[in-house]
Subunit: 218 residues, 2 copies
Amino acid sequence: MSSRQPAPRTQVRRLPDKQLHDVAERDRALDTALVAHIAVVSDGQPFVLPVGFARDGERLIVHGSNASRLFRSLAGGAPTCLTVTLVDGLVLARSQFESSMHYRSVMVFGSCTELHGEQKSAALATLTERLMPGRGIDARPPSPKELAATCVLAIPLQEWSMKVSAAPPDDDPADLDRPVWAGVVPMEHRFAEPVDAPDLRAPYPVPQYVRSWPAGRH
Amino acid sequence: MSSRQPAPRTQVRRLPDKQLHDVAERDRALDTALVAHIAVVSDGQPFVLPVGFARDGERLIVHGSNASRLFRSLAGGAPTCLTVTLVDGLVLARSQFESSMHYRSVMVFGSCTELHGEQKSAALATLTERLMPGRGIDARPPSPKELAATCVLAIPLQEWSMKVSAAPPDDDPADLDRPVWAGVVPMEHRFAEPVDAPDLRAPYPVPQYVRSWPAGRH
């Protein structure tokens, strides 16, 4: 049984039939997404920041600039919410009301812990490996100065909820006789042909690890 | 001159070279994205909700359930932030520090206004037309009961900022001699072959408007 009892603020109130508690499906979504949106509140004003992120077991790693006021606020332990959303397609029902999207969305609540020292370096290596598998060896690791400029945060996967919409259109019976097509238009996401940096010093080939990145990440 | 003087909270402090004030580029990004992330703060706890949205001239339209506590809070005019992010590719620099993503991100600040009556119906029609161009005629418009269950909000494109990362890797000169490939791995997004609803009453063909949806939306 891989489910987790949701805490009150992770209880999905709307469309509860779409709520999932499956950790494997949660991790599949988190490991597919490249970007999360994280909230910071400053003087009552919320900000929603897009951040590259990586799952590291039962926590998520994000990083930003140590000069960012909002990132410093997150590092201070302010309550936050981090949401990861994957759009998988459009659902064309016979009614506009039932028309919707296929999506997977994971919402994580809690507060961030700032990482330092060995933990910080290890978390940055994990970020590189998750976002650009294989690149860790080719790309120079951060220097002390670069490390000092970077803020690395972890948020535990403790309080979370997930919603998945993956079903065909769910039309009212009265609408089924409408003489129109209905169905799902799935979306495809893939990496395209890599583009050389203009300042390549020699005709280095695109690495095999890049060629082997799977389709579907977005 | 299509730029707008940013207000203090829309002043990009980090990486200001990536800030754009071009309204046409802003609208291109907003009209490409299917989903936005909007913040609601409840008792000091922020929530980041994914929402389908549409640009309607100089405002954005979002909709949700009138039974949603968080949506009611937005309808009440709580200060919010709505962020739209498009991931366009991965930037593989020679250093991990300079490795990053190509992205376009629009952040909108303000508060929502709830729409009613004719304005509400018109906004819902705009949402359908923007998210599923051509579908408005085929799909049944909302009934009075469906309209009553739906909360439709508008947020003006008044206070906004945009960041765009679209350049090649920007490596330190000292790293350029590293004998590895560097460059950009672009991402492609497209609609795949539509899937018939299992309860189609007749072999209605996939509509031409669906076939003509452009690649790139995500």
